[in-house]
């Protein structure tokens, strides 16, 4: 255990409930720091549960009914899902380039990272943001990915109608990324850091469709880009959730 402490804060201000809860990194996860008491004693995921979501613990209440393990399990599950999707995304990208022909599969082939509507690259500058804020960005990106993956699925359906595994992976990816996005949203909600209001209707699909109509090659590049973004975002989500998951770096 490093023993280094840092606080979870976003939007510039730390919520009041969090002031009494401090997260300590280390293998044992997070623990509640109490005045005059060593943080060693308050271990567990209950340290992350905001009081607003979960009322103060009633000493008379049954300890087994505590919601703390639920959040812990939720984060754990989401992190596991993100990790799984990271692996799937790697396989999808590999499968995708195999079906596009050279030079897509060649080493060194890197088309320009053209902007995709509603979906930006995971910026390195996000590293300094608090975890909930990063998760909120993750959730936004994950929400923008499904329609893009659907577009890619449609384009590939015309281009590679017999590449059934690729098409199935694309379908699965769109569905799974929705699930991951919803799970991240749930974690954010559990953390009391819900995403900022309703998102506008994603224009990514329309833009992607127009890009695809420009020709097959731009459609391939678009798919390559979307698959790459999918991998980057689920990978980042996994990393962000890993900071919350037990055993992960805080």
């Amino acid at each position: 255990m490093s023993g280094a402490l840092f606080s979870l804060s976003w939007n510039g201000t730390e919520p009041a409930w969090l002031k009494n809860w401090r997260i300590q990194s280390g293998a044992s996860g997070f623990r509640k720091s109490e005045p005059g008491r060593s943080g060693q004693e308050a271990r567990g995921w209950g340290a992350l549960i905001p009081p607003l979501l979960f009322p103060p613990e009633d000493p008379q209440a049954d300890s087994s009914a505590s919601p703390l393990p639920h959040l812990e399990a939720k984060i754990q599950q989401t992190h596991s899902l993100a990790r799984l999707l990271t692996k799937y995304a790697e396989q999808l990208l590999q499968e995708y380039v195999q079906h596009q022909g050279d030079p897509f599969g060649l080493p060194g082939f890197s088309p320009p990272r053209l902007p995709v509507a509603d979906l930006s690259d995971p910026a390195p500058g996000h590293a300094g943001l608090p975890v909930p804020e990063r998760l909120r960005l993750d959730a936004a990106a994950l929400a923008a990915l499904p329609p893009l993956l659907d577009v890619v699925r449609r384009l590939q359906g015309e281009l590679n109608p017999r590449a059934l595994r690729l098409l199935r992976r694309l379908e699965d990816a769109a569905r799974q990324v929705r699930a991951l996005g919803a799970a991240v949203e749930a974690v954010l909600a559990a953390l009391g850091a819900e995403s900022r209001g309703p998102r506008p209707e994603p224009a990514a699909a329309a833009v992607a469709a127009s890009t695809a109509s420009a020709g097959v090659f731009p459609a391939k590049v678009l798919g390559f880009r979307v698959c790459g973004l999918y991998l980057e975002w689920v990978s980042r989500t996994e990393a962000d959730l890993g900071q919350l998951a037990p055993g992960g770096p805080a």
Partner: protein, 1095 residues
């Protein structure tokens, strides 16, 4: 070219000048000067007159003529032009004017400028051949482009209305790129002028996408009017028109998503403002072709067929890439194996094989259209709707009124199209679907009704269905049924000729008539037919019990195909001439019944009953016909079968029954039986119960007059094995040289085959030695006796050695091999009699020989005496008297008697006065060896010495051996004294004719030559008688038989004939039958017979 001649009248001075030049050369210079002057004058005059008349036409309707006039010409603007051929027509025209076309021929044209001073008329000869036809410069009406196909569309008007008649027109079109305005395409295009203005189109597809560069197009024409005899020339090029890039194009690589034929060439360009660094197709980099500005192109030759996602062509700039995808593929192959059939006569399904893959997928894949020409109906099919392995197929509804269909299958993609046709009568192409809902319902014990459902509208056709009938343990049977198709699609048929109480499994498939294809088999349906009375009675046999009083009836259960149901019970009855009796019902589990019968003959009847009724009775007679001539035979089988044969017997009218059993079983022997027809003479008995090495008894019965007679009794094995045990054997008797062995028979169950014999081995050996362990018949010291007489149970082994241990081994063998061995060790007895005999025989032989010898000697005593010991020796026989030359020549080595005149000086006569010693033993004892002392003692008593002294020869006296001799004298010594005293009867002694008188041998054998004996010799010397004339001390005994001859160190002792010192012969006294035999030391039979005369 128009050749216009100027016809100007020559001036007369020119004629004069020529005349002057011919007149005088001296005036040449002067004339030249004059000529120059005059020429100048003429030219001045010509310039002022019209010349160089030129006429052209561009529509053949008018000729445009013009001429030249230098000074003021033209400015006068008015000329009088007169055309004259047969008539003269004058026009007042301008300088360049048009005239109507002239008919073929020469015309004189006179041009006279009006209002021009000093000018003169000009005359020209004008012909149509001098006219040039130069069409009017064409004008491009429209130039458009199809960028997707890189095709230019050119449109222009031929303005044919201006031409008076039909003419061929050749158009020449050129396409240029902006860069360097190089011509990239130059083509000719022919049309015909038909008197009307016609708009023409020309399309051209560029190798390079039109977006890659600005394309310019120009056109000109050439009118080839056959009626025009003048010069025809191309028109001028039209104004160039160009195609520019679409202004809103964002794509920078052209062409986009192009579909081309695999193996063709393609040019791909990149229109960009940035510098293109590289271009590649797939993973292969291509050299750049620079176009206008920064635009570049690459040329791809012989492109390979693309993968599904196409071939990527990528241009790289510094910070970006641009690309396009080329889809190289093939036009669709001709659809192969087009086949149209129907499952139900409601819908046609056409299938085909697309043939060679086009390498084009998705939107670029081949689309198929199936068109039926009679009905005009068609359906479409997109090739990417099925996976690669599926058949391509299309469905088309059948019109009820239409049977003949003419199908055309068209395949089309972006590279081409093909088609395939098929004409079918659909009622002949029915491939019914699988029948469903198969059901079976029994009608009776031999028939069922099958029903099934076959979807489809088969009312127009006949159905041909095939029913497969499967029965347990039986081959399946196929039956075909034909029926008319019904609208309800439900069908049924009756299946008869089935067996009662049998489980059948049915399934069905159908086709139509005429046959095209069978449907798949329906699911199976099982059905059990109802019971019927058994078809026949059980197979029965009878056996008498061991006591012979009861008859046991056996029967076999009816097989299912004869029982026709479940057998519930059996009824057994027996009848004679007098009565009929029945037993109570016997349950189906019992298959025997025992009857107590009297001495009558009975017929036993057995009936099997099931729920449907009773079977026909099976009958058998109790009577058994005896057979006195019955032998037990042997038979061998193979595997689990054995062949039995018998002779044909016409008396056997019923059948033959072969029963068999295991011979080792006790009691009534019946394992199974088999009935064969009466005309058979052999049968193969086969049973899974047969085991190798087990003896079975087979009995062949013949049936006649309802009675059975045992014809053959056979014991047999299906396979022989080696005996399981060795025979027990014992030693019955043992002698010194033989052993009597006796063994027991091997039990049948242990024998496991027909006994072929025994092998008996024996050899010397003792228990617990390694030698006996390896007793084998091949060994040199093992004796083997193969006993093939299997009735033999004893064996005497002779010629053995006494008191010796023998190892005996006995084993039996059958046709299946050699059985195990049993061994035993036996010691023979000691042979005492032989030993006795061995001792007695030599003794007896010796006695006999002695007796015979004695008898012989006795009977031949006269001869012996005559020969060996005559009363008066024959001097001729005396060797001493043989005057051999060598001797007479004085060989001093031979000390024989020299025949010198012998003058005895002293003669001693020795006479026997006492009886000789009696012989006490038959053993021959040398008198020399045995009796030296006795003789010395007896001699003084028995002999009277008569002195005789022969005259001494001086030479002999010189013999050193005679040194001790002293004086020469003759000494007669009784021969008998030389030997061991022999026992003689007294009488014989008395009758001895020799007495003390007569001849005496002239030799005296000294017993020893020792000095001690000399005294005795001296005594002897004193006796009278013959004495050898030599000193015996000098005699050398050289006979090898002499026991002393071997002793070279001993003093020399010799005895022999008195005639010779070399003689070994004894002088045997006459008539002395008991004369001593010679001992081994000095006498032998060999010597005896050696000198035997030939009497």
């Amino acid at each position: 070219m128009m050749d216009i001649s100027l016809c100007v009248k020559r001036p007369s001075w020119l004629v004069d000048r020529k005349r002057m030049r011919m007149a005088s050369n001296s005036q040449w210079l002067l004339l030249t000067a004059v000529l120059l002057y005059l020429t100048n004058q003429v030219n001045s005059q010509k310039k002022s007159t019209p010349h160089d008349l030129k006429c052209v036409t561009n529509n053949l309707k008018v000729w445009d003529c013009s001429w030249r006039a230098l000074f003021g010409a033209g400015r006068a603007a008015s000329y009088e032009v007169c055309i004259e051929k047969r008539s003269r027509t004058c026009y007042l025209l301008e300088k360049n004017t048009t005239i109507p076309p002239l008919l073929p021929g020469h015309y004189e044209i006179t041009v006279h400028p009006l209002y021009e001073f000093g000018s003169s008329k000009s005359k020209f000869i004008l012909n149509e051949k001098n006219i040039s036809l130069i069409p009017e410069t064409p004008e491009i009406l429209n130039l458009s482009a199809d960028f997707s196909t890189s095709t230019l569309h050119l449109k222009w008007n031929d303005k044919g209305s201006v031409f008076p008649h039909y003419s061929n027109v050749i158009w020449e079109i050129k396409v240029l790129h902006k860069k360097n305005m190089e011509i990239v395409k130059l083509v000719t295009y022919s049309t015909t002028l038909n008197g009307r203005d016609t708009i023409h189109h020309w399309n051209w597809t560029s190798d390079m996408p039109l977006e890659c560069a600005i394309h310019y197009v120009g056109i000109r024409c050439y009118i080839d009017d056959p009626q025009f005899s003048g010069h025809k020339e191309w028109s001028d090029w039209s104004l160039l028109k160009n195609i520019s890039l679409p202004p809103d194009s964002q794509t920078k690589v052209f062409p986009q998503d192009k579909v081309i034929l695999a193996g063709s060439d393609i040019t791909v360009c990149c229109v960009t403002q940035e510098k293109v660094l590289s271009a590649q197709i797939g993973s292969t980099h291509c050299p750049l072709i620079h176009l206008d500005g920064e635009n570049v192109a690459i040329r791809i030759r012989n492109i390979s067929a693309s993968a599904s996602s196409g071939t990527n062509v990528v241009f790289s700039v510094e910070d970006n890439i641009f690309g396009t995808v080329v889809f190289a593929g093939y036009p669709p192959d001709i659809p192969q194996k087009l086949n149209c059939e129907t499952y139900d006569l409601k819908e046609i399904i056409c299938t085909w094989n697309p043939g060679r893959p086009t390498s084009l997928e998705g939107p670029r894949s081949t689309s198929y259209t199936l068109f039926e020409s009679f009905s005009g109906k068609y359906v479409r099919f997109k090739g990417d709707e099925v996976s690669a392995n599926e058949n391509y197929q299309l469905f088309l509804q059948i019109l009820s009124s239409q049977e003949i269909h003419n199908f055309t299958l068209n395949a089309q993609n972006l590279l081409g199209q093909t088609e395939s046709t098929l004409l079918v009568n659909i009622t002949e192409k029915v491939h019914p679907r699988i029948p469903t809902s198969l059901k079976a319902k029994d009608i009776n014990s031999t028939a069922v009704i099958l029903s099934w459902h076959l979807p489809g509208n088969f009312t127009k056709v006949k159905l041909l269905c095939q029913i497969e009938i499967n029965k347990t343990n039986s081959e399946h049977e196929l039956r075909n049924v034909t029926m008319r198709g019904v609208e309800s699609s439900n069908y049924l048929t009756t299946v008869d000729k089935l067996n009662p109480y049998t489980i059948y499994t049915f399934r069905i498939r159908c086709s139509t008539d005429p046959f095209w294809k069978w449907s798949k088999w329906s699911n199976e349906k099982q059905c059990l037919t109802t019971e019927a009375i058994p078809s026949k009675g059980p197979d029965i046999w009878r056996e008498w019990s061991s006591d012979g009083r009861n008859l046991i009836i056996y029967w076999k259960p009816l097989p299912i195909n004869e029982a026709y149901g479940k057998i519930l019970s059996y009824n057994v009855s027996y009848s004679s001439d007098e009565e009929t009796k029945s037993l109570s019902e016997i349950p189906d589990t019992q298959h025997r019944a025992e009857l107590q019968l009297d001495k009558n003959d009975y017929i036993i009847s057995v009936v099997a009953k099931n729920s449907a009724g009773s079977s026909p009775p099976s009958k058998i007679a109790s009577m058994e016909i005896p057979n006195d001539d019955l032998k037990i035979e042997q038979a061998l089988g193979m595997g689990n079968r054995i062949l039995l044969t018998w002779n044909y017997d016409p008396n056997m009218t019923c059948d033959y029954v072969i029963k068999w059993c295991n011979s080792s079983q006790s009691g009534p022997c019946l394992m199974d039986w088999k009935k064969v027809p009466p005309n058979s003479t052999e049968t193969v008995i086969e049973s899974d119960q047969f085991r190798p090495g087990v003896r079975y008894n087979f009995s062949v019965y013949g049936c006649r007059n309802q009675g059975y007679q045992l014809l053959r009794s056979v014991i047999g094995y299906v396979e022989e094995l080696a005996p399981a045990v060795a025979p027990n054997f014992t030693v019955e008797d043992t002698s010194a040289d033989s052993i009597l062995v006796k063994w027991e028979e091997i039990p049948v169950e242990e024998l496991r085959g027909f006994l072929r014999g025994y092998l008996f081995y024996f050899e010397k050996g003792e228990r617990d030695t390694s030698k006996i362990m390896g007793l084998e018949p091949g060994r040199f010291d093992t004796k083997v006796k193969n006993i093939t007489d299997i009735s033999q149970k004893t064996l005497r082994i002779a010629d053995l050695q006494g008191k010796t241990s023998y190892h005996l081994v006995l084993r039996a063998y059958t046709g299946g091999g050699m059985g195990p061995e049993r061994s035993m060790f036996v010691v023979t007895k000691e042979n005492s009699e032989g030993l006795i005999i061995a001792i007695l025989i030599p003794v007896a032989v010796a006695v006999i020989i002695g007796v015979v010898t004695s008898i012989l000697c006795y009977r031949k005593r006269e001869w012996i005496k005559e020969t060996f010991y005559p009363d008066i020796p024959n001097p001729e026989n005396c060797k001493a008297l043989q005057f051999q030359k060598s001797v007479c020549e004085g060989n001093s080595a031979l000390k024989t008697l020299e025949m010198n005149p012998c003058t005895p000086n002293n003669v001693e006569v020795l006479e026997t006065r006492s009886v000789a010693l009696k012989i006490e033993d038959t053993e021959i004892i040398s008198p020399v060896a045995e009796r030296p002392e006795d003789r010395s003692d007896a001699e003084p008593e028995n002999h009277v010495v008569v002195s005789y002294c022969p005259p001494v020869i001086e030479e002999e006296l010189a013999n050193p051996g005679a040194e001790g001799g002293g004086a020469s004298q003759v000494i007669y010594i009784d021969v008998q004294s030389m030997y061991q005293p022999q026992a003689k009867p007294e009488g014989e002694l008395d009758s001895d004719p020799v007495g003390g008188a007569g001849y005496k041998p002239q030799m005296h054998l000294p017993v020893t030559s020792t000095v001690d004996d000399l005294d005795a010799d001296d005594d002897l010397d004193k006796t009278a008688g013959y004495r050898p004339q030599a000193n015996v001390n000098t005699w050398n005994l050289v006979s090898p038989d002499s026991p002393r001859s071997t002793d070279s160190n001993s003093e020399i002792v010799s005895f022999g004939s008195p005639c010779s010192i070399n003689s070994r012969q004894f002088l045997i006294p006459p008539k002395d039958e008991d004369s001593p035999k010679s001992s081994g030391g000095g006498w032998s039979f060999t010597n005896f017979f050696q000198n035997k005369p030939n009497d």
